[in-house]
């Protein structure tokens, strides 16, 4: 019997299939076991929104009780039509997307490394990242939705399917403003001739498509256009909401209005300088480079933007996993980032302040940013032998 099992496992891919199966079952079990947990977000927001939608139906979308992008509300409306517990259904939907996200992460790792084992590993890690488990299954949050769209966007972009990739990015933008954290990577891809201006039309088109049903339901068009602006000023009570960024070092409760404006301009200035430098960087746009760009911009913008929530590291955690699998020596960064992220989640869910101050976590986060920044800075060195090829390919010698 032992010999049979060993032989079976040794056969092509059997171990991997078994591992994927067991991990999937475990991941399902952990999510099912959390289905009854009621978070504050559910009590304060989601439950109320479901009540509105249940009582008034689709016409409720004309009211201004929600500050999320309308596509999220369509999802809630669809759930109200089902004969199931709303919270279970909403959590179930997000958890289903967790698996799709894990598959997308695995796909990116496979695309970047052509290594099946690493892809399986990435699938498993994503499903068991504490922030991923808690975000949907416990907190009732839906960061997986836009993250999944961005993962798919990058997957298609890396395969050369620019339009498909950009439609997914547009979809991510139509759902969450946070998708813009990584937007500068598309500017670099445009400079490097990987995308064209016409592809950016997907953002307004998808946004318009997203708000159209709510407008038809009766909500004023101007309000729908302003929904992200309203979101931006919503959490003005703290410069950082359990997010380990610069405001946790200098203070997140003073000069609230002033630092909000100045912080926006500061990150805008920093991005200008970084993009300027990158426009002259002699580098071949490889898959690893694209992942690194997304990661760097995701962490850079959130490090300086005011009013960041702890959940906003979700996207970068996913890409940090991909990057850590492509460049294994960077894997410890994911461990550090997961530790950084979980502190905020734990405080939200348990109402206990973490023993490690957020200022210290902010220095950890700065460390991650520095390492990634150095990776970007040194990237041309690693790719030195391919520079000439790159310049010939692009037909331009910058600098």
């Amino acid at each position: 019997m032992d010999a049979y099992v060993r032989d079976w496992l040794k056969k092509d891919r059997h171990t991997e299939y078994l591992l994927i199966g067991v991990l999937t079952v475990l991941a399902v079990l952990v999510r099912i076991s959390m289905r009854t947990f009621v978070s504050d977000d559910w009590v304060i927001f989601w439950d109320d929104w479901f009540f509105h939608l249940e009582s008034k139906g689709f016409a409720a979308l004309a009211d201004d009780f929600y500050d999320y992008a309308p596509p999220m509300l369509y999802l809630l409306y669809l759930i109200t039509l089902l004969p199931v517990n709303y919270m279970t259904a909403f959590k179930g939907f997000c958890c289903l997307l967790d698996f799709a996200g894990a598959a997308a992460v695995a796909g990116l790792v496979w695309n970047g490394t052509q290594n099946r084992k690493r892809a399986v590993f990435a699938y498993g890690i994503f499903l068991f990242l504490p922030t991923v488990i808690l975000n949907g299954a416990a907190w009732c949050q839906c960061d997986i939705i836009y993250t999944l769209f961005i993962l798919l966007c990058v997957s298609f972009l890396l395969r050369g399917k620019t339009w498909t990739g950009m439609w997914f990015y547009g979809a991510a933008f139509a759902i969450k403003l946070q998708s813009l954290f990584i937007f500068p990577f598309l500017v670099i891809l445009w400079v490097r001739r990987k995308v064209d201006l016409k592809h950016f039309v997907t953002l307004p088109v998808m946004y318009m498509l997203g708000i159209l049903p709510a407008w038809l339901a009766g909500r004023p068009f101007s309000e729908l256009l302003d929904i992200y602006v309203a979101q931006g000023t919503q959490d003005a009570w703290s410069l950082s909401i359990k997010f380990p960024n610069v405001y946790q070092i200098i203070g997140n409760d003073f000069f609230l209005d002033e630092y909000m404006g100045a912080g926006m301009y500061l990150i805008l200035g920093i991005l200008m300088m970084v993009l300027f430098w990158m426009a002259y960087q002699k580098v071949r746009v490889t898959k690893e480079y694209v992942i690194l760009l997304i990661l760097f911009f995701g962490i850079l913008t959130t490090y300086f933007l005011p009013h960041m929530h702890e959940r906003y590291l979700y996207l970068t955690d996913a890409f940090l996993l991909v990057y850590g699998m492509i460049r294994l020596r960077r894997f410890p960064l994911l461990v550090l980032a997961a530790f950084n992220g979980i502190a905020g989640y734990a405080q939200y869910l348990t109402k206990q302040t973490p023993l490690v101050p957020y200022g210290v976590l902010a220095f950890f986060q700065l460390g991650i940013l520095i390492v990634l920044g150095l990776d970007l800075y040194r990237f041309p060195v690693y790719e030195k032998d391919r520079q000439e090829l790159d310049l010939q390919e692009e037909g331009r010698i910058p600098g």
Partner: protein, 350 residues
């Protein structure tokens, strides 16, 4: 023509205004970052930012860019310097929020450095001496510059007359300031500046004729710095010919090291003490990118001081920032000793 291609080509298109040649992208950055530099200051004012400080900060960024450009002949480096200084949070805090004079002092010193460049000749060195002397007479936190100038005198960059002039101005200011401060009955030995007193205890001793902690700090500082100057004299003279850039880096490192060390031990320093050194650190970063941690950590330390002043308490213990600053000073110290050729004989003897 393809619009994408047209725009991409436009980014790298060569433009010129008079003798100045630049890429369109460089010009675009210069314009945009100037705008950002203006707007980043607007949230702190009810109307437009205070024009004198705004002008001083802008001119400081410009002078620093010219300094970098003269040292490296690198247009992009100069532009990056300009941009970084325009959006530098410590400068915004000093000039716009606090409306303090340290940014004006930084402007004077960077201008003095421009005079100190080799091509300026003897007249330039005298102008450097006069401006620096004015700075030393102006405020105590710049006293460290005097000790850096002593090392420069050792290296025959300054004459004995110039050094004596600087010593006189610095001495006058120190004597005048501390005669007042030591009798002022201050309750603290440091005012929002993360230095040694944030580690050993910043409350001053009350009810006595003298405060021994402050007095120790006051006399320890020149003593320690003189010892260091003497140590520099023990180094092996660098016979090799240094490039202008390398020379500039060494000078900057020297000013940074002595300036920070002085403020680290002198009592009664305030949050503005680091403003000038924050600017010098940015110049250092642009010239030596691989030592970016010096500038980055220093900005955090300096801004922590300003933030404690605004907020009246610090998010993290100030001793933590004082520790970081100490590490930065140690790092610079090792580099400066290497520059002076002191490390080699030490290693041989050990």
């Amino acid at each position: 023509m393809n619009i994408d291609q047209f725009l991409r080509d436009l980014l790298y298109r060569k433009c010129s205004i008079g003798p100045l040649r630049f890429d369109f992208l460089e010009g675009l950055l210069a314009v945009c970052i100037t705008g950002i530099g203006f707007f980043i200051r607007t949230p702190f004012e009810t109307g437009l930012p205070h024009w004198t400080h705004l002008l001083a900060e802008w001119y400081l960024a410009l002078a620093s860019a010219v300094f970098v450009w003269r040292l490296t002949s690198g247009r992009r480096r100069a532009l990056v310097t300009y941009g970084m200084l325009l959006i530098l949070p410590t400068l915004v805090a000093e000039g716009t929020i606090l409306q303090g004079d340290a940014c004006v002092a930084a402007l004077f010193f960077v201008s003095a450095l421009l005079f100190f460049l080799p091509e300026s000749g003897k007249m330039g060195t005298w102008l450097f001496t006069l401006v620096t002397g004015g700075l030393l007479l102006w405020s105590v936190p710049y006293a460290g510059i005097l000790f850096a100038c002593m090392v420069l005198w050792q290296r025959e960059k300054l004459t004995i007359g110039q050094l004596l002039f600087l010593a006189l101005t610095a001495g006058m200011r120190l004597v005048y300031a501390y005669a007042l401060w030591l009798r002022a009955g201050y309750t603290l030995v440091t005012f929002h500046w993360p230095n040694i007193y944030e580690i050993v205890g910043r409350a001053s001793i009350q009810g006595q004729l003298v405060d021994p902690v402050a007095l120790t700090g006051l006399f320890l500082t020149p003593g320690l710095l003189l010892l260091l100057v003497w140590l520099f004299a023990q180094g092996e003279k660098d016979t090799g010919c240094l490039s202008k850039k390398e020379e500039g880096i060494r000078v900057l490192r020297l000013f940074l090291f002595f300036g920070l060390l002085t403020c680290y031990f002198l009592p009664y320093m305030n949050q503005s003490a680091g403003c000038l050194y924050g600017v010098l650190a940015v110049l250092y970063l642009v010239l030596v990118p691989k030592e970016f941690l010096v500038a980055m950590l220093l900005q955090i330390v300096i801004f922590a001081g300003y933030q404690e002043y605004f907020r009246e308490s610090s998010m993290m213990p100030m001793a933590f920032f004082a520790g970081i600053q100490f590490l930065v000073i140690c790092w610079l110290g090792v580099k400066v000793l290497e520059d002076a050729g002191v490390m080699m004989p030490c290693r041989r003897k050990s």
